[in-house]
């Protein structure tokens, strides 16, 4: 069986260094398997998050050879084994220990977003009617597993650390899911502009490229949201017109 060498960042916020581990690679193995094997055999206290091992839960985000990824969906057979494989925690978030970072900021951001507010029910029994075509695009946004890889890779957070002015691509996806929800009647456009910092996004599409759920974050969520914001604030004709149309049809 082939062997692979891993260099894994070990340490906490105070100090960290790469430790080297060598392992035999079996058929079908993913990076997370290797990490858990290393944990069981050589480093019982190696900190790592995981749950489903199937790309469903978004726990095992890390940077493998510098690329943000879910470790459970990253096949060893897709990695060149002639050089050591570098495994690091997500860089945009404060390090707790080894591969585990403090992602609590994300949970705080979500709390501040105005929650779902449905229109009154359509039917007497308190239920609604929606056509599948009308929910397809929102279902795309609701595929998000909150892995925060898009947050990790976005330069506004990663390089410029504008966390207090910018909510990040994950939450634009979340807001898009609410704003385009056929039942929702809340208006989040002012927040998008003023507190959520959608203007900081310059559509580099890095977020879309890393999304393991293949959500087209920029084209399907951010750009339409930007347009809605622009409509509301900058176009007096459309603004007037908008008064006579429901927000959902725009």
């Amino acid at each position: 069986m082939p062997t692979a060498t891993f260099e894994i960042l070990r340490g906490d916020a105070n100090e960290g260094k790469f430790e080297t581990y060598t392992l035999e690679i079996s058929e079908g193995m993913v990076v997370l398997d290797a990490i858990l094997l290393i944990q069981a055999k050589y480093a019982n206290d190696l900190a790592v998050r995981w749950n489903c091992k199937a790309g469903h839960c978004g726990s095992c985000s890390a940077e493998v050879n510098g690329v943000p990824k879910l470790m459970c969906m990253c096949r060893m057979s897709d990695i060149k084994l002639d050089k050591p494989i570098l495994v690091q925690p997500m860089k945009a978030f404060p390090l707790i220990k080894d591969l585990v970072t403090d992602v609590s900021w994300n949970f705080e951001v979500k709390k501040k977003i105005k929650k779902f507010k449905p229109r009154p029910p359509d039917a007497a029994d308190g239920t609604w009617r929606m056509a599948q075509e009308d929910i397809d695009r929102v279902q795309e946004f609701r595929k998000c597993i909150e892995c925060f890889l898009c947050q990790d890779v976005c330069h506004v957070i990663r390089e410029h650390q504008l966390q207090d002015k910018f909510i990040g691509p994950r939450y634009f996806v979340h807001i898009a899911g609410l704003e385009m929800h056929p039942l929702d009647v809340e208006d989040r456009r002012e927040d998008l502009k003023k507190t959520d910092g959608i203007g900081f996004c310059n559509i580099t599409k890095c977020c879309t490229n890393v999304c393991p759920q293949e959500i087209t974050i920029t084209d399907n969520a951010i750009i339409p949201l930007k347009e809605r914001v622009a409509d509301k604030f900058y176009d007096p004709v459309k603004r007037l017109f908008a008064k006579f149309r429901s927000k959902k049809e725009q």
């Binding site: 398997d33 069981a40 019982n44 091992k53 469903h56 707790i96 929650k115 929606m130």
Partner: protein
């Protein structure tokens, strides 16, 4: 008060899956303060992995469906060992619970007339599972999570409870550690709800994550509460088996609900060979009728692939044992064959089962729209658990409630697919409501400092040992042993051996050594989890030895038949005054007359 961070709530909910979140939302809606504790980050609990759907008799697809049919399906599936009252409440209340999710923002797949779409699943007479492709659990947990964070529930993420706190016989709080820094936390509460999920980590091949170490079962048991039905552990018929690193990962029953068929290495559809009497009236005996059923023909009977999980898993094991298995020791599950029936089959499969398509493509290099999957049974779901009052969900200890997979009663000897997610909603809600009522009625209990210092001392002992085995080695040994000796096919000789092993492993676990410090140290966490895993393994083994028949998920090769006498009791486990595990038979509660008639009518 003690030296540790202390929090005070009216209701403390332990577990943030579907059951815990629903309970927390409900308790909070009743105007009490609520704390919520979970081992992982919020939204990562097992519920997120559920794929197929939520069972609720909304009759959106087939108007012949009703709570009555759902009720009788659930009892038939559970081989009549279910708590009938829970099954009744569940069948009646599930539809409203699903609609409530929609009012909180969930977006289920739709019927042509714009209602919530429902799909076929094993053991359900009519299409009954509300779903979103094959990621229903994600939709459910995210909806509850997003709703819950606006309800004033205080969440303690990555915090593990290691003991419940008692004031006499009443539960008045919990004590645990937070993973990040390894610091202890004390939670005082007027009522405590356990919603900790299942036990599958005690087995080698499982669809369950590291979290499923039976904590709630074990916490309740050691506090003095009763467990019930512990012999009934569900092995899901279709887990991935190849490559080895993915073995155990679940392949949703939705594949069969959409027309997937099971084949042995000779290409034979072996499920036709053995249809149990209980289901003869409802199961088709030919391919053509089975396909019509999948297509929604109301007069067709369902294909045998959609029989209950216990039965399908056993048929698969039989095929493998008799030499008709696939190269890697499983059988084939094929959905690609529907290309013979519909023109756009590839697109249809990708639309209906996107997660499965993606997963096989990525992890096994298999395109399920073109070729069959190789699958085999995987440890999946615990029917047994904390014994609760069917209406209030209170355990046998005052102030302690349980809901979701760690509670028991609804599913009897075998759970129907989809009946768990609905269970979480119906009984999570009830637990929240009654825990809030309990909290309002009774004041604060008294926290006993000694219980806290004892637990803290116990938790830190592994750091003091300089000899002893690695907790992972012990965990692997336990998983291997339970898989071999108390697995799908059981017998007395093997289970007696298992008991001996468990004794030895308990000693090893008590001497396990951990390296490193208290900061986010999974080795330490595993060492503590072992205690719970061993407790529930002992309970499973004891109950499985005691039930001398084969019924539902419990199959004994030394007693291969159903025994009518054994069908009259549940097995109840409790810790006696000397700390020993004891087991007793308890007659099944007498079922209400009108429901009895209903069962007869629907037979």
């Amino acid at each position: 008060m003690n030296a540790y961070d202390t929090y005070n709530y009216d209701v403390l909910v332990i577990g943030a899956g579907g059951a815990g979140l629903r309970a927390a939302i409900e308790a909070s809606a009743h105007g009490v303060t609520v704390g919520l504790v979970c081992k992982s980050l919020l939204g990562k609990a097992h519920t997120v992995m559920a794929e197929g759907g939520i069972a609720a008799a909304m009759a959106n697809v087939d108007d012949r469906d009703s709570w009555k049919v759902h009720f009788t399906d659930t009892l038939r599936g559970g081989q009549y060992l279910n708590n009938w009252r829970m099954a009744e409440l569940h069948a009646k209340e599930a539809p409203d619970c699903v609609r409530e999710l929609e009012s909180w923002g969930a977006l289920f797949d739709r019927t042509k007339d714009g209602k919530i779409l429902q799909r076929n699943f094993g053991g359900h007479k009519y299409p009954r599972l509300a779903h979103v492709g094959d990621r229903t659990g994600l939709e459910m947990i995210r909806t509850l999570q997003d709703h819950g964070i606006h309800q004033g529930v205080e969440v303690h993420m990555e915090c593990t409870v290691i003991t419940l706190l008692k004031d006499g016989e009443r539960i008045v709080g919990a004590f645990g550690y937070e993973r990040e820094r390894g610091r202890f936390k004390t939670f005082q509460a007027k009522a405590v709800i356990l919603a900790t999920g299942g036990v599958g980590r005690a087995y080698k091949i499982t669809s369950n994550s590291w979290e499923y170490t039976g904590d709630g079962h074990s916490l309740a048991y050691h506090a003095g509460a009763e467990l019930i039905d512990m012999e009934f552990l569900q092995f899901h018929p279709t887990g991935m088996i190849w490559p080895p690193s993915v073995s155990g990962i679940l392949v949703t029953e939705g594949v069969r609900g959409e027309g997937g068929i099971l084949l042995n290495k000779n290409g034979e559809r072996f499920m036709f060979n053995n249809i149990p009497d209980l289901y003869k009236n409802q199961t088709s005996d030919n391919e053509e009728e089975g396909w019509r059923y999948i297509q929604g023909d109301k007069n067709a009977k369902r294909p045998p692939e959609l029989l209950t999980r216990d039965h399908v898993a056993r048929c698969i094991v039989r095929e493998i044992k008799e030499g008709r298995g696939s190269p890697h020791g499983g059988v084939y599950l094929d959905i690609s064959w529907i290309k013979k029936k519909i023109s756009n089959s590839e697109e249809h499969i990708r639309k209906k089962l996107p997660g499965m398509y993606h997963m096989f493509k990525k992890l096994a290099d298999i395109d399920i729209t073109k070729e069959p999957m190789e699958i085999g049974p995987t440890t999946h779901y615990m029917m047994g658990g904390i014994r609760v009052d069917p209406d209030t969900q209170m355990s046998t200890m005052p102030g302690l409630f349980a809901a979701g997979e760690c509670g028991a009663g609804l599913h009897g000897a075998n759970r129907l697919g989809g009946n768990s997610l609905s269970d979480l909603l119906v009984f999570g809600k009830r637990a929240g409501e009654y825990a809030a009522k309990f909290a309002k009625e009774y004041g604060d209990g008294t926290i006993d400092e000694k219980q806290i210092t004892d637990a803290a001392k116990w938790a830190l002992e592994p750091f003091e040992r300089d000899k002893g085995d690695s907790p992972y080695d012990i965990q692997f040994a336990l998983q291997e042993m339970m898989q071999q000796l108390v697995g799908i096919v059981r017998n007395e000789t093997e289970m007696l051996r298992a008991k001996e092993h468990l004794g030895l492993m308990s000693q090893r676990a008590a001497n396990a050594r951990v390296v490193g410090n208290r900061e986010f140290n999974p080795g330490w966490h595993t060492a503590l989890d072992l205690f719970n895993m061993l407790t529930i393994s002992e309970a499973i083994t004891m109950a499985a030895l005691e039930r001398k028949e084969s019924r539902g998920a419990h199959f004994r090769e030394d007693y291969p038949d159903k025994d009518p006498q054994s069908g009259k009791f549940n097995l109840v486990i409790k810790k006696d005054a000397d700390g020993k595990m004891i087991i007793r038979q308890e007659p099944i509660p007498e079922i209400r007359e009108e429901l009895k008639q209903l069962i007869e009518e629907m037979k």
